[in-house]
C-alpha cells in the first residue's frame, strides 16, 4: 500500500517535471537576433541568427561560413567533426552558438545549424 502510494507520487512528479521542463525550455529558448544588432556586449553569450549563405570556406579543422541577412553579414565558424556539413551557397540557415571576437570582428562558433 505504502509502496503503491510512493510510486504514484513519484510518477506524478516525474510527469509534471518533464512537462514543466518542456515548457521551461521553450520559454528560455534563445530569441532570434538580427546580425546587425550583434555587438561586443554579446561576446561569450549564446546568440541565434538567421540568414543566407554567401560563401563557404574550408580550412584544416573548420569551415567558415559567410552568413548574410538584411541587416549585415557575419562569419560562422563550424569545427570539423562536430556535424556533417551539407550546406550550399544561397541556402537559408539558422545558426545558434557562442559569440566570439576574432581579429576585431564578431563571429559565431556554431553549436546548432538548422536549415530554413
Amino acid at each position: 500500500m505504502e509502496d503503491e502510494k510512493t510510486f504514484k507520487i513519484i510518477l506524478a512528479i516525474s510527469l509534471i517535471g518533464v512537462l514543466s521542463l518542456l515548457i521551461l525550455v521553450k520559454t528560455l529558448e534563445i530569441p532570434l537576433t538580427n546580425i546587425g544588432n550583434l555587438t561586443e556586449s554579446n561576446i561569450d553569450k549564446t546568440a541565434k541568427v538567421q540568414g543566407n549563405i554567401s560563401s563557404i570556406t574550408e580550412t584544416q579543422g573548420l569551415y567558415l561560413i559567410n552568413l548574410k541577412d538584411a541587416t549585415g553579414k557575419l562569419t560562422i565558424v563550424v569545427f570539423k567533426n562536430k556535424q556533417d556539413l551539407n550546406l550550399k551557397k544561397r541556402q537559408a540557415i539558422e545558426v545558434q552558438g557562442k559569440v566570439i571576437e576574432y581579429k576585431g570582428e564578431l563571429e559565431i562558433q556554431a553549436s546548432v545549424i538548422n536549415l530554413k
Binding site: 513519484i10 517535471g17 518542456l22 534563445i30
Partner: protein
C-alpha cells in the same frame, strides 16, 4: 614529453579511482571539469597530454566502477546490470571473487579489442558510410528488442523509454552548457543512491577467494561481448548495459560468474571501441569522447598509438588497483556507514550540478532523479532510461 605523458597516465589513473569508486560520480563529470580547466592547464601542457589523462581515467574507471556496484549496491549506467550477480556473490561472502571476475573480463576485453583494432579500423572506415543510412532503423530495432526482452512489464519498459526520451529532448534543447551531466546524474546516479538507501542490507564477513575461471566461460563472454561492443561502441545512443543485454542473447545459460566477466569485458571494450570510432570517422559516442573531441580537432595515427599505449598501461595499473582495493573493501565493508556515504555523495553531486550548470541544471537533476527512481519501483531494468539519448538521436536522424 615522456615525463608529461607518464604524469598524465598516473593522474588519469588517480582520477579514474575517484570516479570509479565514488557512486554517482561519472567520468563525464571529471572530463567536463578538465575541459573547464583546460584554458589554465594548456598554459603548461598540450591537448594530447590532457587526452591521454582522460583515456587513462576512462580505462581505470571501467575496471573500478564495479566495486561500488558490488559492495555498495550503487552502480553507474555501465554496471547497472551487475548489481544482482555482484550482490549475490557478496551475500555469499565472495565480494572479492566478484571483483576478480569483472577485472579479468576488463583486462581480457582490453587486450582483445586492441589486438583486433586494425580490423575494427578497416571495417569502420570502409563500411560506416554504408550502414550510416541504416542507423536510425538499427536503433529502433535494438530499442524494440530490449523492450521486448524485458521479463517483467514490457509496457512499463516502453513507457519509461519514451518518458526518458522526452526528458532527453527537453534537456538537450535547454541552454545548459553540459546537459548530459545533470541528466545522467539524476537518472542513474542520485536516483540509485536514494533507492539503495531504503535497503538496509547487512553484509556478511567477506573472504578472499580466487574464482576458478573455465576457458569456455572466457571464450563465451569475450566473443559475444566483443560483437555487442562493436555494435554499441559505433552506434550513437547505445552503451554498456545495452551491449551486455545483446551479448546475453547468444546463449540462454549465463551464470553470475560468466555474466560478471562479460560485463567487465564489455565495459572496457565499449569504451575503447568509441575511441576507435572517434579515430576512424570522427564521431563521438560517449561523454568523455565528446570532451576529447573538443580538446583536439583530429586524432592522428601517432596520437592513436599513444592512446593504445596509455590504455594498456592504465589497464595494467587498474588491474592491480582493482584487486588491491577489493581486498581493502572486503575488510572494511562491515564498518562503513553506508547511509552517511550516500548522503554525502548526493550533496556533492547536487552542489557540482548547481555550480556547473546553474538553476536550470538543478531542475533537470531533480526531474531526472524522480524519473530514475521509477524503473526499480515497477520492477524493470534501468537500461530503458537510455531512451533519454536514443530518442533524441533517432529524431536527429529521422527529421
Amino acid at each position: 614529453m615522456i615525463v608529461e605523458i607518464t604524469l598524465a597516465i598516473l593522474v588519469g589513473c588517480f582520477l579514474g579511482i575517484i570516479s570509479g569508486l565514488t557512486p554517482g560520480i561519472h567520468i563525464n563529470l571529471i572530463s567536463v571539469t578538465i575541459l573547464a580547466a583546460s584554458p589554465f592547464l594548456l598554459q603548461y601542457t598540450s591537448p594530447i597530454v590532457l587526452i591521454l589523462a582522460i583515456i587513462a581515467m576512462s580505462i581505470t574507471h571501467t575496471f573500478l566502477d564495479f566495486l561500488p556496484s558490488c559492495f555498495l549496491g550503487a552502480p553507474d549506467p555501465e554496471t547497472v546490470l551487475t548489481v544482482l550477480p555482484g550482490h549475490r556473490l557478496l551475500q555469499e561472502g565472495k565480494g572479492y571473487e566478484a571483483v576478480r571476475l569483472s577485472t579479468v573480463g576488463s583486462i581480457s576485453g582490453l587486450i582483445l579489442v586492441i589486438i583486433l583494432a586494425p580490423i575494427l579500423i578497416f571495417l569502420t572506415r570502409n563500411y560506416y558510410d554504408s550502414i550510416k543510412i541504416a542507423i536510425p532503423y538499427l536503433l529502433i530495432i535494438c530499442a524494440a528488442f530490449l523492450i521486448l526482452r524485458e521479463s517483467n512489464s514490457k509496457l512499463w519498459a516502453l513507457i519509461l523509454f519514451l518518458l526518458s526520451g522526452v526528458l532527453g529532448i527537453a534537456t538537450l534543447n535547454s541552454t545548459v552548457s553540459q546537459p548530459l551531466f545533470p541528466l545522467f546524474s539524476g537518472l542513474f546516479g542520485i536516483s540509485t543512491l536514494i533507492v539503495s538507501l531504503k535497503d538496509n542490507n547487512t553484509i556478511p564477513l567477506q573472504t578472499i577467494t580466487k574464482p576458478i575461471i573455465k576457458f569456455r566461460q572466457m571464450v563465451k563472454a569475450l566473443s559475444s561481448g566483443f560483437l555487442a561492443s562493436i555494435f554499441c561502441g559505433t552506434l550513437p545512443g547505445l552503451g554498456v548495459a545495452q551491449a551486455s543485454i545483446l551479448a546475453t542473447t547468444v546463449s540462454k545459460k549465463w551464470t553470475p560468474q560468466t555474466f560478471l566477466i562479460l560485463n567487465g569485458a564489455v565495459n572496457t571494450m565499449v569504451m575503447f571501441t568509441s575511441v576507435i570510432t572517434l579515430y576512424t570517422i570522427g564521431k563521438a559516442r560517449s561523454g568523455e569522447i565528446v570532451i576529447m573531441q573538443k580538446l583536439i580537432a583530429e586524432i592522428t595515427f601517432q596520437t592513436f598509438i599513444m592512446i593504445v599505449i596509455t590504455a594498456i598501461t592504465a589497464g595494467i595499473i587498474a588491474t592491480m588497483l582493482a584487486l588491491k582495493i577489493a581486498k581493502i573493501f572486503s575488510r572494511l565493508i562491515t564498518k562503513i556507514s553506508y547511509k552517511k556515504l550516500c548522503i554525502s555523495i548526493i550533496l556533492l553531486i547536487t552542489a557540482l550540478v548547481a555550480l556547473l550548470t546553474g538553476l536550470q541544471g538543478l531542475f533537470i537533476l531533480i526531474v531526472s532523479t524522480f524519473v530514475g527512481m521509477l524503473p526499480p519501483l515497477v520492477g524493470i531494468g534501468r537500461n530503458h532510461l537510455m531512451g533519454s539519448l536514443i530518442v533524441p538521436v533517432l529524431l536527429f536522424f529521422l527529421l
